[in-house]
Amino acid sequence: MKRSRQENLLEKWLLPLVAVAVLLAVWHYSVLMTGTRVFPSPLSVWRGILELLHKHVLWADISDSLRRVVIGFAAATVVGVPLGLCLGWFPSLHQVVNPVLELLRPISPIAWIPVSIIFFGIGDPAAIFLIFLGSVFPIVVAAASGVSSVPPLFRRAGRNFGLTNAQLLRRVIFPAALPQILIGLRISLGIAWLVVVAAEMIAVDSGLGYLVIDSRNSGKRYDLVVAAMLIIGIIGLVLDSVFRLVERIRSVRWGFRHAA
């Protein structure tokens, strides 16, 4: 018991820390040995991060990016979950809509940037629209497949207790599909965070994506570029970890036994 806990600690914290340290060392010496003037060393990136933290724009950029992600992702959830439930519930509707979905799904949200600027101009709505597009499809697909993979046993049990269609959907189908829906939501949130950065490089003039592109364009500050990249990575990680907490809720945890 004690032994396995120690092993766990080692695997969970110590080894990943070692990996990070090795990466930093390789990075540091590569910059040193190649003598590059353009690519920043870890140390100058660290100074870049401190510089950004002291400038108040960083917090404004973070909150702009997060706001866009929250609104776009929320819209995708509000549209995607009910749509997916419907498609899973009515297989004939699914057959009708599926070709359109399958056609739209592989189109990168980046490809939509020009279209969304035509629609919305430069500004928040354009970025939010792109985030919505990027995250709605995985949600629809997850909800639809969640519904259609609900074991017939559960439906029959629900019917047996005299549930109407609406009750069956609310009390059996939805909770049974919820773990899969949550997996879809988590994937979508990750995509939303990827998309917001890309969208901000082109479709708006604030946010972390804009920070990256602006640091390069105004004075080739590559230390700030990489610093902004790292901040984007850390926030993405935090978002994902927060979402993972949802999977611990007792009424959905049964669906994550194997996934975890």
Partner: protein, 262 residues
């Protein structure tokens, strides 16, 4: 033990459940499969009937038709003189242990069919059935934390809680290990004696049938016909080494076509 709202059935003369000339034919893609052929059966109130037969003969189909999950190709099923035309909480089908809802606690599962009751009535009903199936202390547990036998007791409790007239059990203990199965047999008997519901139980276990049933219905291979009906006239508790028990057990084995001497 009796709870308000749960009527104690009286041995009425009319059958509780009546199956008349029941036939079911499945339409496959290129062929039709006759699953049930002219089944006639009368089951009285509070009776415990076991159904045995070769696998794939149509036992589940028979339960599904009696439960209203399947409309018969010919003939009819009626309960208390009323034609069965669809699923209804007055007759509950219990499957193998996977039938409990994993997103609900023990309490949530037992209370699943009780949405129409007031909060206090529901709590009272849940407490009664938690105790009946001996899951005290697990009220807030989720099925994933229960053993197979506990899950199956939970499913029986969920079924009984809605106060059904008839309980259909489809190989309820088939997925359990043999020791748990023998224990569950005793539990089911105790529950049945406490609540006196009409029970129809499909089993592939000869001892289960002879120990539990008032009557054992033996079905032929597909399409299922009633081949034999064996009345087990031994009062409970049954002594499984009594001569009468062994005679009936042998008789049942013979009916199924199995040699009882090897």
């Amino acid at each position: 033990m009796a709870l308000p709202g749960i009527a104690i059935p009286d041995q009425a003369a009319a059958p509780k459940l009546q199956v008349t000339n029941l036939g079911v034919v499945f339409q496959g893609n290129d062929k039709t499969i006759a699953a049930l052929d002219n089944i006639n059966l009368e089951i009285s109130d509070g009776e415990f009937v076991c159904l045995v037969g070769p696998s794939g003969c149509g036992k589940s189909t028979l339960l599904n038709a009696m439960g209203g999950f399947l409309s018969p190709t010919s003939g009819s099923v009626s309960i208390d003189g009323e034609l069965v035309s669809g699923p209804d909480s007055r007759r509950i089908l219990v499957f193998q242990e996977h039938g409990v809802f994993p997103w609900l606690t023990v309490e949530g599962n037992i209370g699943f069919g009780l949405a129409k009751l007031s909060r206090s009535e529901r709590a009272q009903r849940i407490a009664h059935y938690v105790e009946l199936v001996q899951l005290q202390g697990f009220e807030r547990s989720y099925p994933s934390d229960l053993s197979g036998g506990m899950k199956q007791r939970l499913q029986v409790a969920r079924a009984l809680a809605v106060n059904p007239d008839v309980l259909f059990l489809d190989e309820p203990f088939g997925a359990l290990d043999s020791i748990t199965r023998v224990m569950m047999r005793g539990e089911l008997l105790r529950i049945w004696q406490a609540e006196r519901r009409t029970i129809l139980c499909v089993t592939h276990d000869i001892d289960e049938a002879v120990q539990l049933a008032d009557r054992v219905v033996v079905l032929s291979s597909r399409p299922a016909r009633i081949q034999n009906v064996l009345t087990i006239d031994i009062p409970h508790p049954r002594n499984i080494s009594s001569p009468r028990y062994l005679t009936l057990r042998d008789e049942l084995l013979k009916m199924i076509g199995l040699a009882y001497e090897i």
